[in-house]
Symmetry: C2
DNA sequence: GCGACTCTACTACGAGACGTCGTACGACCC
DNA sequence: GGGTCGTACGACGTCTCGTAGTAGAGTCGC
């Protein structure tokens, strides 16, 4: 996954905030993003460049809307974050054989100990759900 | 936490591989790291520079050993990884109020669904252990 | 005591990522 | 038909990182 710079992340935040990915959202135009980041006082073209680079990285997708483009996140924020977490976990594989749960396990344990109780609960629930056959109503 | 380049990570891997942090380990010298990375055919000073930068980033600590320095990881690999994971999770807070489990929760759920069954088990066990009073013998 | 090693400290340089724009130019609205 | 708005490109400065070279000081064998 692509690594994002500070401004790039800010732009993604704007997009994530207003356009959920799969559910139909019209996304945002360069102008809209620029306005959303008004406090940064950025040139219109700066935002355009960033959006363009984000598209190049596959972080956003765009579609024509008249003469302009509308950008929206290629994936929801959670997916991006989960991806980053998995990548972090992967560096535990340092030249060692895969499938082996060495440092990965240790890292997971450390991680589990670091999340707040509330989040631990969420994580536990998610794991639970995953191990279930799944498909239960609400 | 500092972000590491490719070579920096390789060097950290060497250090992590030979010098566990807290337990007394004498760490490795520039020479030793260079030898460990012999296949890369790097100049001695290249490794020295990298180790120096790593020290500047707080990733390694060093102590004199005669005229030379001995480097060792400032923290074990698992700690680094767990830290990266937590940081990834933190970007879920995008300008929103903290303490709220919005995207963080969603990200955790995504993550939970992505780890392999074996790791999910490990994670579950770690969470379990965390919620326990802890302090049980072996 | 001198020369060959070995280490460290600095300095450097090129590539690539990123923040930040400017310019040129086509499309639209009134 | 002249502003306005949007796009496409190109650019530049700063940082990070990989990669080293050089200078100079400490060490050891003879």
């Amino acid at each position: 996954m692509a690594r994002l710079g500070e401004l790039e992340r800010a732009v993604m935040d704007v997009l994530w905030a207003r356009g959920t990915p799969e559910p139909p959202s019209d996304g945002a135009t360069v102008r809209e993003v620029t306005d959303a980041l008004a406090d940064r006082d950025l040139a219109y073209t700066t935002v355009m460049t960033v959006l363009d680079r984000l598209a190049g990285k596959g972080m956003v997708v765009r579609q024509r809307d008249g003469r302009a483009w509308r950008y929206q996140p290629a994936a929801p924020r959670e997916a991006y974050i989960a991806q980053l977490m998995l990548e972090a976990l992967d560096i535990a594989q340092a030249g060692e054989a895969a499938a082996e749960t060495g440092d990965r396990g240790a890292a997971l344990v450390r991680f589990a100990r670091s999340v707040t109780g509330q989040e631990a609960e969420l994580l536990r629930a998610a794991l639970e759900e995953q191990s279930r056959p799944a498909g239960e109503g609400t």
